[in-house]
């Protein structure tokens, strides 16, 4: 008697177990990997957006995967090579990953999905962004964040040093002058404890964004227009790198340990008021605020365009940070992944992203039209600067090229003569680009 009951219960349980997965099988699970999840105020916003998405698409379950900013490219490449990986991933700065991933075929082509949408779907984005995220005529990514690198300064420290807190430096020469005044001993113990400028000197993805404005601002570029040779042998480029290095080596307006500085450490220094200026973009002020919530940062932080070389007014004076969402070539649920991609880059989601993270969108119908952005004292500066910002080359060799530049700058920062190091980098980059040149074609001498 008892055993029969057991059997009945067992059969019922078994049937439930068989039926249950069938019932949930209609719910498609897709994985969204995003480095933004590691910063609390970003995480909150993304979780809310994803929750909203799941309400609208009850058949899709989005699983969030945390990944670190510096490691994400390695992680995705390893996973994709291995035939797995997240369905949707967020990558940036675009130059580090896009060329490499697109040439290696890591992305799923988004063109068919875009063609199935209403005509002019891509027109909402800045044309430059759409171009940047296309490879051989196919679109592989949808732009997410897009913003110019700018100068952030601390008005309180400016005032203490006798500078006009509302007037940021306009030229690099002026910046150096300011920085000298800002570098001082504030607590009177005889040791310098505050510096003019924070600088990223470590081999780090953050270096490119903070060094390029100076290179561009001096009128130089990294590579020749056809990407066959390095172009850092120009007088302008040499002058730019010399200026950058001298800020630390000759003038000492940058805190010690600069070759070990990551963007995170420099941000900590800014929040601790150890430095008065740094190059950043829209993400800067909110993170500083969350590091030290007790300080009235709204009245302390100023945002201005990066300076230019005195006496010039270059068309391009800064670089832009572009991040994008892309789809893994290994995804088993492309349709659902596309829905998520589309949702995350929609006007509505991008506006929410600005409200929560104060970060500007790669959609011009957001960055140029959203009233909150137009009214925001920081965002409007950063948005306006986009017209004077340029991206660096989107080629698969880029990660190696920027590493060579980064190492050359480090040598300079370590007190070694800049010119030989810069020359090494020039030759090394030409080596890296050798495959792009025809047989026998040579690059100009340094």
């Amino acid at each position: 008697m008892k055993s029969r009951w057991c059997r009945v219960v067992g059969i019922v349980a078994l049937m439930c177990a068989l039926v249950a997965p069938a019932a949930t099988a209609q719910r498609v699970k897709i994985v969204l990997s995003n480095w933004h999840l590691v910063e609390p105020h970003w995480e909150k916003s993304i979780k809310e957006a994803v929750a909203e998405f799941m309400v609208r698409y009850p058949n899709i379950e989005v699983v969030l995967d945390y990944v670190s900013y510096a490691e994400k490219e390695t992680k995705y490449m390893t996973a994709i090579e291995a035939g797995v990986g997240p369905d949707v991933m967020h990558l940036g700065p675009a130059e580090i990953s896009f060329g490499l991933f697109a040439t290696r075929g890591y992305f799923r082509d988004l063109t068919p999905f875009i063609q199935a949408e209403a005509a002019g779907f891509l027109d909402a984005w800045y044309p430059g962004v759409v171009d940047a995220l296309s490879h051989e005529g196919k679109v592989y990514g949808l732009g997410n964040n897009y913003q110019a690198m700018v100068l952030m300064w601390n008005k309180r420290l400016f005032a203490e040093a006798g500078l006009d807190p509302e007037r940021p430096p306009q030229t690099w020469e002026e910046l150096l002058d300011y920085a000298k005044k800002l570098t001082r001993d504030r607590d009177g113990d005889g040791r310098i404890d505050t510096w003019g400028l924070g600088m990223v000197g470590r081999v780090d993805p953050g270096f490119q964004l903070r060094f390029t404005p100076i290179l561009f601002g001096f009128g130089a570029t990294y590579l020749s227009a056809d990407y066959r040779c390095a172009a850092i042998n120009t007088a302008a480029a040499k002058e730019a790198v010399k200026f950058f290095v001298d800020l630390f080596v000759t003038h000492g307006v940058v805190p010690p340990g600069v070759t070990d500085m990551t963007p995170g450490k420099v941000r900590e220094q800014f929040a601790a008021e150890k430095i008065a200026m740094k190059i950043t973009s829209a993400w800067g002020p909110p993170i500083v605020k969350s590091i030290r919530p007790d300080v009235d940062w709204d009245n302390i932080i100023g945002i201005a365009p990066v300076p230019v070389k005195a006496g010039t007014n270059p068309e391009i004076r800064t670089t832009a940070f572009l991040s994008y969402y892309a789809m893994n070539r290994n995804t088993k649920n492309p349709k659902e992944s596309w829905e998520l991609l589309k949702f995350l880059t929609s006007k509505e989601a991008q506006e929410k992203w600005f409200r929560d993270a104060r970060v500007l969108s790669a959609r011009r119908d957001v960055s140029q039209q959203y009233q909150l952005i137009l009214d925001d004292p920081y965002a409007k500066v950063i948005g306006a600067e986009l017209s004077r910002a340029a991206m660096v080359p989107m080629i698969p060799e880029w990660p190696q090229i920027i590493e060579a530049i980064n190492v050359a700058v480090q040598k300079g920062l370590l007190g070694q003569p800049v010119d030989p190091a810069w020359r090494d980098a020039y030759l090394q980059i030409n080596d890296i680009l050798a495959g792009r040149r025809r047989a026998g074609e040579r690059c100009p001498a340094y």
Binding site: E71, G85, T262, A272
Partner: protein
């Protein structure tokens, strides 16, 4: 005079080494109890002015996925330690008791396998794991850590089995036991301290690894403590109290294990293991 000088040198050296050994621990603990701004104070404070558990320990446990990393580390390190000790004990017994052709060669292979650097293996290994669907899984990681630990475990345990007199298992064989029983009932209990030592050793090796986890996991939910910590540094802010709190937590299990079992470890190593 000579004696006093010798004592002076001895205790002087000892004092320097004790400071050298302990200062990093002190700094780790001290920073983990500070608030963010205090950690960045110039000059630094040696003792936290307002010790707080929340800034360091609280945040690292609540904000980050650290508890999960901890669990992962525990699972894979224990798994690898157990696996390599079990398999190593078998191999140790085999090498200690049987003199077959090719034995010397195989011992050589075992020892030489320690010389392969991780960077050589990790790339192909991840592609292999991917093929069989073990990429980003506990099993794949445990197998990988076993490469770190197994050669040493087998070699150490061979040393331990060597210390057990042959007569004991021969007596067991004569009494009608078979080899397996002789191994399980006679030898194994006698080499327990050695197994414990090997276990700790393997655990420490696996717990401390970064390279393999870095390359063989893709999701955050599979990351280990070492990987989690190395990531915190390159994040958007560098919060030293959190990092140091995380470090204290990361050091905790191997240290506790070691403090409880250090008797076995020392005894194990003196028991012939490293003598070869």
């Amino acid at each position: 005079m000579n004696r006093t000088l010798a004592r002076l040198i001895t205790y002087g050296f000892l004092a320097v080494m004790v400071v050298f050994n302990l200062v990093p621990f002190f700094w780790m603990l001290s920073t983990s109890l500070k608030t963010g701004p205090e950690a960045y104070a110039i000059p630094p404070t040696w003792w936290p002015l307002n010790p707080t558990l929340y800034e360091g320990y609280g945040k690292v446990l609540l904000w980050t996925n650290f508890p999960r990393y901890f669990l992962n580390s525990l699972v894979v390190s224990l798994g690898a330690a157990l696996l390599s000790t079990a398999v190593g004990a078998l191999a140790g017994y085999g090498f200690s008791r049987f003199f077959f052709r090719g034995r010397t060669f195989l011992i050589g292979v075992l020892l030489a396998s320690q010389m392969l650097p991780g960077v050589l293996l990790v790339g192909p290994y991840f592609k292999m794991l991917a093929r069989i669907g073990l990429y980003n899984s506990y099993l794949g990681l445990i197998a990988a850590f076993t490469t770190l630990t197994l050669p040493f475990s087998a070699w150490m345990l061979k040393g331990f089995v060597d210390t057990v007199p042959h007569e004991l298992d021969e007596a067991a064989l004569i009494d009608g036991c078979c080899r397996r029983q002789a191994f399980l009932r006679v030898v194994l209990p006698l080499i327990t301290p050695g197994m414990v030592a090997t276990l700790i050793f393997a655990f420490l090796l696996a717990w401390g690894d970064l390279l393999w986890v870095l390359c063989l996991t893709s999701t955050d939910s599979m990351a280990t403590v070492t990987l989690g910590l190395s990531r915190l540094v390159t994040q958007f802010r560098v919060l030293w109290p959190q990092l140091m709190a995380g470090s204290v937590i990361a050091v905790f299990p191997p240290m506790i294990l070691y403090l409880i079992l250090q008797k076995y470890l020392v005894q194990g190593l003196t028991g012939g293991a490293v003598k070869g």
